[in-house]
């Protein structure tokens, strides 16, 4: 199964770049993930100062420029892992290195074909379509 790992900045950190030590710790962790064949993709994201948000409320769209006052939910980086089950993902997650300040890492399994049963029938899924982006982002 594939899981999304969202590294979130919390309290007083607006997604500023990590310290050299934290960067090195993350580098070692990623090395471990690669050698175990677990890491599929990942990237760090620039600080909140360079971010933009848009709120959508019905027809109303409001753009907010970073940095944001509310940083609790600021995604600072993401990784995609391929693991056998959530237990394995959790075991890896416990090894996630400490970044400066207080952090929260969120683990979210990808939707798979079976999860889309309410929206797309298996026949629809299996029938070739032309010129449209896939409904499934995953295999």
């Amino acid at each position: 199964m594939r899981v999304m790992v969202l590294g979130k900045a919390t309290e007083g950190n607006n997604g500023e770049p990590p310290t050299k030590e934290a960067f090195a710790a993350m580098d070692r962790f990623i090395e471990e993930l690669v050698k175990a064949g677990v890491l599929v993709a990942g990237a760090g994201l620039k600080a909140g100062a360079e971010a933009k948000r848009i709120t959508i409320d019905g027809d109303k769209r409001t753009i907010i420029d970073g940095p944001f006052a509310e940083t609790r939910e600021l995604v600072a980086g993401f990784q995609i892992w391929e693991v056998k089950d959530m237990d394995e993902a959790l075991a890896w997650l416990k090894r996630y290195p400490a970044m400066p300040g207080k952090n929260e890492i969120e683990l979210r399994p990808f939707m798979e074909a079976a999860d889309l049963a309410d929206y797309v029938t298996p026949e629809e899924l299996a029938t070739p379509r032309e010129g449209e982006r896939g409904k499934l982002g995953v295999a």
Partner: protein, 418 residues
């Protein structure tokens, strides 16, 4: 955390460490069997200790230390037994002390090559490809014998026997658990790559209705390929194989039709191809090409990449595919490659070019009862406007194939020849 949750957490943590643990132990005690036992004993200690102390900061090192203690205890025990037998041989005592010291030394040795060494042993060319696959899935992939049996449509007893015999052969040959170097490494790598691709293909051949363990083999193959790429970052063929598997796996969701029939590449819904895997595949291929790779896996990956890059079947760069088949034919000669090369040339340069290449291989005994040969000839003849000849070829191909869906498709093509 409930007891059950704690146990699951410990087991998951153990699973991550298991292969490296066995690899490190096997190198010390020179036996896969003994290493597996020691790892299992370490797990039991962990299941007993960790609920009280919590999971240690470095579970791998902790488990290794626990297993090492067991190994040393066993050696001491052996020494005591020898004493009881009255043979107070100084040499023996020294020997067992040396063994204990060697274990201590190996623990401090952060080479990290143990896993690769174990992969090379489990995939030693003296073992059959099936034995290599079973042993690799067991000791590196961590699958149970039951899972391996289901994956290969075999029985648990047969797989268990295969694994035991493989281990016996390894012990009898006194194989070294060191990573082979230089020429030996080059000579043994193909049998490692072959096994990983065999595991992947076994999963790729499974259809959706089967036991999920079988399609799961694709993931096992990819995982092993990714692992190997992490351990051997300078080998072009390792990245070629990885690229090939990633790109092929990107099509898993698009390759089966509503009734489970295989959808040919050119008819697949490309919007369902997994772009993340395609990107990974193209990156691995770029790496292989940067390493000057021109081996069979790199070439096959380059072929797969031609399809992955084409937005639609009509955009396919058949000229490049034909050129790659010209090279693959030299790197890995086979009648099937020759046939595919003829198909590529027919797409790039017209049906006559394809027919000329088919004539050159028509008498190959390996292709005598091979349905794709007359099917390809029928297609070339059809496209050349030679309908009555084409019909005969499609009918011949329909008679040769054992796949009902394929036969129906070929008969429909025969019927359309007018």
């Amino acid at each position: 955390m409930s007891r059950d949750e704690t146990q699951r957490a410990i087991e998951a943590s153990f699973r991550i460490e298991r292969a490296r643990l066995i690899a490190g132990l096997a190198r010390m005690v020179q036996s896969i069997d003994r290493a597996e036992e020691l790892a299992q004993e370490a797990l039991l200690v962990a299941l007993n200790e960790w609920p009280k102390t919590g999971v240690p900061a470095n579970p791998g090192a902790w488990l290794m230390t626990a297993a090492k203690r067991r190994a040393i205890d066993a050696i001491r025990h052996e020494r005591m037994r020898e004493r009881k037998h009255g043979e107070i041989a100084q040499t023996l005592e020294e020997a067992s002390d040396d063994a204990a010291m060697a274990i201590e030394a190996a623990l401090d040795d952060e080479v990290g090559d143990e896993l690769l060494g174990l992969i090379f042993v489990a995939c030693h060319p003296m073992l059959t490809a099936e034995a290599r696959a079973a042993l690799t899935l067991r000791v590196i992939g961590g699958l149970t014998t039951d899972e391996i049996a289901r994956a290969f449509l075999s029985t648990e007893a047969a797989i268990a026997k295969r694994i035991v015999r493989a281990k016996q052969a390894i012990a009898a040959a006194e194989l070294s658990f060191e990573v082979p170097r230089g020429g030996e490494r080059a000579a043994r790598l193909p049998s490692v790559l072959e096994v990983i691709y065999l595991i992947f293909n076994e999963g790729y051949a499974a259809t959706s209705g089967d036991d999920p363990v079988r399609p799961g083999l694709c993931l096992e193959g990819q995982r092993l390929g990714r692992m190997l790429a992490g351990l051997m970052p300078d080998d072009a063929e390792v990245f070629g194989l990885l690229a090939l598997m990633e790109i092929q796996a990107s099509r898993l969701a698009a390759r089966l039709g509503p009734e489970g029939a295989l959808v040919p590449l050119t008819a697949q819904d490309r919007t369902r191809w997994d772009q993340l895997l395609i990107r990974r595949g193209l990156e691995a291929l770029a790496r292989a090409e940067a390493l000057d790779g021109g081996g069979p896996y790199v070439l096959q990956a380059a072929l797969a990449a031609c399809h992955a890059r084409a937005r639609s079947a009509a955009d396919t760069d058949w000229g490049r595919i034909a050129a790659l088949y010209d090279r693959l034919r030299v790197a890995a000669p086979s009648p099937v490659v020759d046939l595919n090369r003829a198909i590529a040339h027919s797409m790039a340069f017209g049906p006559e070019a394809g027919l000329r290449l088919l004539d050159a291989i028509a008498d190959d005994p390996a292709l005598r009862s091979y349905a794709p040969l007359p099917a390809a000839r029928g297609d070339f003849l059809f496209r050349a406007g030679r309908f009555s000849e084409a019909r005969g070829q499609f009918e011949a191909a329909a008679k040769l194939t054992r796949n009902a869906g394929e036969a129906a498709f070929l008969r429909a093509r025969a019927a359309a020849c007018r």
